[in-house]
């Protein structure tokens, strides 16, 4: 097998590089930004590895293939927290909680005492919740940096530009390019669209949470993910727009109000950063591998970048190694 070059060092590019390198492929990787950073939407991700919760709104492959994610990330980044997910709703939104329970598996119903046993700071605040014990989470930026370090340890560094095409084909010429550029690949993939997401990073000394908490609401669903050291990520909006500009006041107020509803102590938090970007998605909101000659596109991970990139990279590797036609492979042309 010849050289493989990967375009893009967001979550898909780095996971692809790590998976292929671990399988013994000769790979190189480039990104105009030189590495993961604010230009990649995965920089702003929640980092929830919550395949069962996602089944509430996602199609069947998300839960099944997302189940691979936690073990992959633990093996390659070592920074996974296995604390499960807590799903809560205000008493007047309990219909949303029963709907969520009906559409998902792998949860147990908690009463007030059960909730406070898991998260003592939420004692007395919610009467009913769902606990997904098998789910996990990670800190996205730390995880991406760990993959960069892992690649560096194999002698692979991220270059700013892809290798120039030599006039004559040599043994060192890339035989395959894997395009993991996310929304930037719209120049080649016409049915890729952007779905805007907005998030906040806050520091709050007064409230401690051990695991991601989702607050159900008919219009403003929120999740809050503890990053450690009193830092929390609040997310995320879903707007059918590819606008990548700064967060709007409305989104910010809604996220903050929902955090306040989880615990008024978040009212004293310091707002340390806001983020907004557009997630790449195909019309079915599922990832696709698209083979066109010597280019393989891996794209459309939507809101499931950390959850589905390991399965997508595995399928790409199987396709490269055996010519297999894995389920995310959508189109093959010579």
């Amino acid at each position: 097998m010849g050289q493989i070059h990967i375009l893009g060092a967001g979550v898909m590019g780095l996971v692809m590089a790590t998976e292929l390198a671990a399988r013994g492929h000769q790979i190189s990787i480039s990104d105009p930004a030189g590495g993961p950073g604010p230009g990649a939407c995965s920089w702003w991700a929640g980092g929830m590895l919550a395949p069962e919760c996602e089944a509430e709104s996602a199609e069947e492959p998300v839960a099944r293939l997302g189940a691979e994610a936690a073990a992959w990330w633990q093996k390659h980044s070592g920074c996974v927290s296995y604390q499960g997910t807590l799903v809560l709703a205000d008493p007047r939104d309990r219909a949303d909680l029963s709907r969520f329970a009906r559409l998902t598996k792998g949860h147990q119903t908690l009463d007030e005492a059960g909730i406070s046993a898991l998260e003592p700071d939420l004692a007395g605040r919610f009467r009913q919740g769902l606990f997904f014990a098998d789910e996990a989470h990670l800190a996205p930026r730390a995880a991406l940096k760990a993959l960069v370090a892992g690649l560096a340890a194999r002698g692979i560094t991220i270059t700013a530009a892809p290798p120039a095409k030599p006039a004559l084909t040599t043994a060192l010429t890339p035989t395959l390019t894997i395009d993991c550029r996310g929304l930037a690949a719209r120049d080649q993939l016409t049915d890729l669209r952007g779905v805007r997401g907005e998030m906040l990073l806050i520091r709050c000394e007064g409230v401690t949470l051990s695991r991601p908490v989702r607050l159900l609401h008919p219009r403003i669903p929120l999740y809050i993910v503890p990053r450690g050291d009193g830092v929390f990520m609040l997310g995320a909006t879903m707007i059918e727009s590819d606008l990548r500009g700064a967060i709007t006041l409305r989104s910010m107020m809604e996220l903050m109000a929902a955090a306040w509803a989880i615990h008024p102590g978040f009212g004293e938090a310091a707002l340390i950063a806001t983020g907004a970007d557009a997630r790449p998605a195909f019309p079915d909101n599922l990832p696709r591998l698209i083979r066109r000659g010597d280019v393989l596109f891996a794209n459309g991970l939507y809101r499931h970048g950390f959850l589905l990139s390991p399965a997508t990279a595995r399928m790409a590797a199987e396709h490269i190694e055996t010519g297999a036609q894995p389920e995310f492979l959508h189109e093959v042309s010579p």
Binding site: S57, E59, R102, L103, E240, S241, L243, P283, N285
Partner: protein, 254 residues
């Protein structure tokens, strides 16, 4: 089948385009239900939602842009102008929010915005309460279509005031009437059509169902059943049971 401002629509079912698990599932819901009109919001997406708008255009149904999320006359009028430009249509579902929690319409601002937009040549579909006085004002403003709520948006509670909706139908025999919002189940949609309404507009009941495509099909059947029932002139409920076979003499046969 309903006629909105001179345009014949093949189905009395109108569907919203928000909150589906994916655009693909949304498209399947439209195909399965054969809904004739798709409502689309603009307030949050603004001009940058062009990719999603292209997916909606690909549904090949009539597009009814809305002013969802607008809280004032000015916002609603500005959004209507943007909608006309982006969708090349003078149809506008006029929605002015009076309460951000319940999303109840602000009927005063609604009437004012309807007057402005009708005067500018828009074909206005106002989302209103079932208040007769408000509906009168909307008709005076130039609205040929009225869209009273069944219940608050997203509540899924069905027709909270069937008497008020029936009265509107009797009072406005020539207006096109649509029950908009509050539909949770096919039986609610059928009930609206049984009252003689011309169409039903819903979104959450389909988009947030466990199987949106199956629910879209169920809604289409319910709307059709209700429409057939209304045309068939249903029997009137009565206080006494009315046996269809004479009881006289039955004792002799026992």
């Amino acid at each position: 089948m309903p006629v909105f401002y001179g345009t014949h629509i093949e189905s009395p079912l109108m569907l919203g385009t928000a909150q589906y698990p994916s655009p693909k599932i949304m498209a399947e819901a439209f195909r399965t239900s054969k809904a004739g009109i798709a409502t689309v919001s603009l307030r949050r997406e603004q001009r940058s939602g062009q990719d999603f708008r292209a997916l909606i255009a690909a549904l090949s149904v009539h597009i009814l842009p809305n002013t969802a999320g607008c809280h004032s006359v000015k916002e609603a009028v500005t959004t209507a102008h943007m909608a006309r430009e982006l969708f090349q249509t003078d149809w506008i579902k006029l929605e002015v929010i009076g309460n951000s929690d319940t999303l109840q319409p602000d009927v005063f601002a609604l009437v004012e915005a309807a007057q402005i937009l009708c005067a500018e040549g828009f074909r206005v579909f106002p989302y209103t309460t079932e208040d007769l006085g408000v509906c009168e004002r909307l008709v005076q403003a130039g609205c040929e279509v009225l869209m009273p709520w069944g219940a608050p948006i997203g509540s899924g509670r069905g027709l909270m005031n069937p008497y008020g909706l029936r009265m509107l139908r009797a009072h406005f025999p020539d207006q096109v009437l649509v029950v908009d919002a509050g539909i949770g189940l096919p039986s609610h949609a059928a009930a609206a059509m049984e009252l003689g309404y011309d169409a039903v507009l819903l979104n959450t009941a389909v988009a947030k169902a466990g199987d949106p495509v199956a629910m879209a099909g169920a809604m289409a059947l319910a709307v059709q059943a209700g429409q057939l029932a209304a045309r068939a002139i249903p029997m009137e409920p009565r206080d006494m049971a009315a046996p269809s076979t004479p009881v006289l003499g039955q004792g002799l046969l026992a």
